[in-house]
Symmetry: C2
Subunit: 462 residues, 2 copies
């Protein structure tokens, strides 16, 4: 049987089509209407998900990879030409797609930066078509990694210094989601991941223990444990709950301190961990670590701490890799400014409950004398404000202005920024609302633009 | 700047590492322990997510693609050799990985089949290492597509014959998740997707309207609408809510029946749709369709129907592509039988709350005289039972036994099976629990295996 199966991998070659079709029909429309002037779009999160009081920005490297590599291959163009919706489009449009490159500017907050609702994570300034076409891909890339980095930060916070490892690949939304989740959760503070590809491609520390199937594959548990120790004499973590956890702990204890760790995966983890700790300690195995896994999240981990669990590290899967309690981030990408006849004019959207602020923006973060974050101001990019500006230039005319920070720098930045965020804003439950203001000039511009729309000429004369 | 950025795309070349590291350390362990005999693993969902009363199986084609293409490249092997955990592994293991192929058997329920908790979606029978290594990839592939196909079936059911289109790419968990979600939601009954790559790679019907940015990019809305109609004279769907929906509907009405559709994306969709319908009808535009979008799910759609909304099609994004209310499926992959000294012996797991049934299984579905499903029986694969057997041979000794069904067949199968499922089992809220029994022989085998574990020799003499 030589049937061709479709793997459904996005690749650098087909990534231009990994988007909503309307980005491409609008591109055809703009081309047709000869809209060659530049426009400015901003990506921001309208409202934070429930329980979240801040976001950890992540995904920029993959977004930049897209902007540098997006090309319409001959196959992609042939397919687009075959669509009935594009049948009246001038053939020159397809020639244009063949030459399509992103030649615009990108400003963004570095990965690992803490951001809040309404604050642009990135800003694209480019010829209208190029800025429009990037929408869906930028959103899916930034939305997901930011979602997971944020969830990771909450879980890592709850673990209070104990290591948290991403175990989520099997429940992630496909193979790539597992890989992206591993990256994002590392930025959010995880110590590593079980995902081997993330280890190979990104250098993230990888961790692996053993599965129930290993234990079940031997006639008895003791034999299974000994066989593992035989192959991995310096890195043996034994899974204790295949049959009876306490019984298994005694078998592990019989093997002595060469056992570097044990894993608990079910049952009352707090009580079991204390009991297992005692068994190990009594055998002189004080350095053997206890790892816990099994439907963990930040609340369960906090409760394990309250119950004085003797757990040294947590493996967190489903809840982390899917951000289970809040599995989507409402990032949006909105036109905020546009060239008309060579002049830049502000734009906004008025849809019920979805109003936006016009004009290209900068976010200023104001800290107190001890470096702790006090408040943010969203201002026009053109005005001066106190505090540190969060958005920095990343690309100019399609080229990187400098190297992106390394993944480890993004992780350090997140840790540092979370440390500087006062504790009341990062409580697990009912966190305080961090103050974010809009500058006076930005509010005035919005009023002015609204008035002009009232006259049916949205932002024509700013 | 020529910095190399990491795109994080799983590909046919690196897919062998898109897994949990422990699959590979266990592989090394089995190799070391000379465990060359065959084993049998089954993939099933332990408990259905809240509100779900059935699952629509999906993802098999990508799972089979993996099994056919999984290879350890030189780069992957070099990376594995560099890991401290594998440093005491015999070098022959890495030679073995270089020759690694999946040469086992695969049985599975065809995509689009309705399944219930505890029922194997697939069964892998292969040399122990090959069956073990596939675990994580099979789980992530089947878990996610099954999750989304199931969610789609619920939403499509609520839409009662109106078209549902997947709009979820921007909120999906990365570019590949958007693509996989488009495929799975098509199997679950969606009419198509906004994802262009899914259209190109799978032939799924693609749909695109226009974004707010199109409307905002023109000085006024009327001009924006006319410009769109000019490029897409036969496929113009106008987005009405950028400023004022009713006002925009009047502008659309002024353009006459060349406008093939309008889209509502915010506000009170039931009331607005009726009002817009009247405006269009009064202009003689009875064939102009009304599409609604904006945070829709099965419950919102059912409520729109109850409120007599005049909506012809629904675009569903976040809720569908992330299965927002239940964003993870607890699929597991468990060793159920194993060769020991050439004889097959059953295996099971006893972990608290996670007990499994030993032995390789078949699922029989019993229908009444009208073809409606009445109950399922999970039995040993070796026994005869009434009803239709759900698992069919897919691969033997690493080769496909025949072509996989086309995507459209999977979609038809799902529609047909949902039709045959009595209505009480597919109510949106508080659905009845479909009866699934374990056969007497299977229960007896479990008792026997449990007893033998009691004697410390799990399943040695079945």
């Amino acid at each position: 049987m030589q049937q061709t199966l479709v793997p459904l991998f996005p690749t650098a070659e087909n990534v231009a089509l990994a988007t909503d079709l309307y980005e491409l029909t609008m591109a055809a429309g703009y081309f047709h209407a000869k809209r060659t002037e530049w426009a400015c779009f901003e990506l921001f999160v309208r409202d934070l998900p429930p329980e979240r009081s801040y976001l950890v920005a992540a995904g920029l490297e993959q977004a930049v990879h897209y902007l540098r590599h997006v090309r319409f291959t001959d196959a992609a163009i042939r397919w687009l030409r075959s669509l009935p919706v594009l049948k009246h489009v001038r053939p020159q449009f397809f020639d244009y797609l063949g030459r399509f490159r992103f030649r615009g500017d990108l400003d963004a907050v570095p990965e690992g930066t803490i951001v809040f609702a309404g604050e642009p994570l990135l800003r694209v300034t480019a010829p209208l078509i190029e800025a429009q076409v990037a929408e869906t891909y930028l959103l899916t890339t930034i939305n997901f990694q930011t979602l997971v980095a944020t969830k990771a930060a909450r879980i890592v916070g709850a673990a209070r210094g104990r290591a948290v490892v991403d175990f989520g690949s099997r429940r992630a939304h496909g193979p790539q989601a597992g890989l992206l989740a591993a990256r994002a959760s590392y930025i959010g503070g995880c110590a590593g991941t079980s995902n081997a590809l993330a280890g190979q491609q990104l250098g993230i520390p990888v961790f692996g223990t053993q599965a129930h199937s290993w234990v079940m594959a031997f006639d008895d548990e003791q034999e299974a444990f000994e066989a593992y120790l035989d192959v991995f004499p310096e890195h043996t973590t034994l899974l204790l709950d295949s049959y009876d956890t306490v019984e298994a702990a005694r078998k592990a204890a019989a093997l002595g301190s060469r056992v570097s760790g044990v894993r608990l995966d079910s049952g009352d983890l707090a009580a079991l961990s204390r009991r297992v700790r005692r068994i190990l300690d009594d055998a002189g195995m004080r350095r053997t670590r206890i790892l816990a896994s099994g439907d963990l999240n930040e609340h369960v981990i906090a409760s394990l701490h309250r119950r004085r669990a003797a757990i040294d590290a947590f493996g967190v899967g489903t809840e982390l890799a899917t951000s289970r309690d809040a599995p989507a981030l409402g990032g949006v990408y909105k036109l905020v400014e546009q060239q008309v006849g060579g002049r830049w004019v502000p734009r906004l959207k008025l849809s019920a409950g979805k109003e936006t602020y016009p004009g290209r923006k900068q976010v200023y973060r104001v800290a107190d004398g001890h470096g702790r974050f006090r408040r943010d101001v969203i201002a026009l990019a053109s005005e001066e404000q106190r505090g540190s500006a969060l958005l920095v230039p990343v690309m100019r005319r399609g080229r990187l202005v400098g190297p992106l920070p390394a993944l480890s720098d993004a992780r350090s930045r997140a840790a540092e920024e979370i440390r500087r965020l006062p504790a009341r804003f990062r409580r697990l439950e009912a966190p305080a609302h961090y103050p974010v203001q809009y500058s006076r000039r930005l509010r005035a511009l919005r009023e002015r633009t609204l008035k002009e729309i009232g006259h049916g000429r949205a932002g024509e004369k700013p």
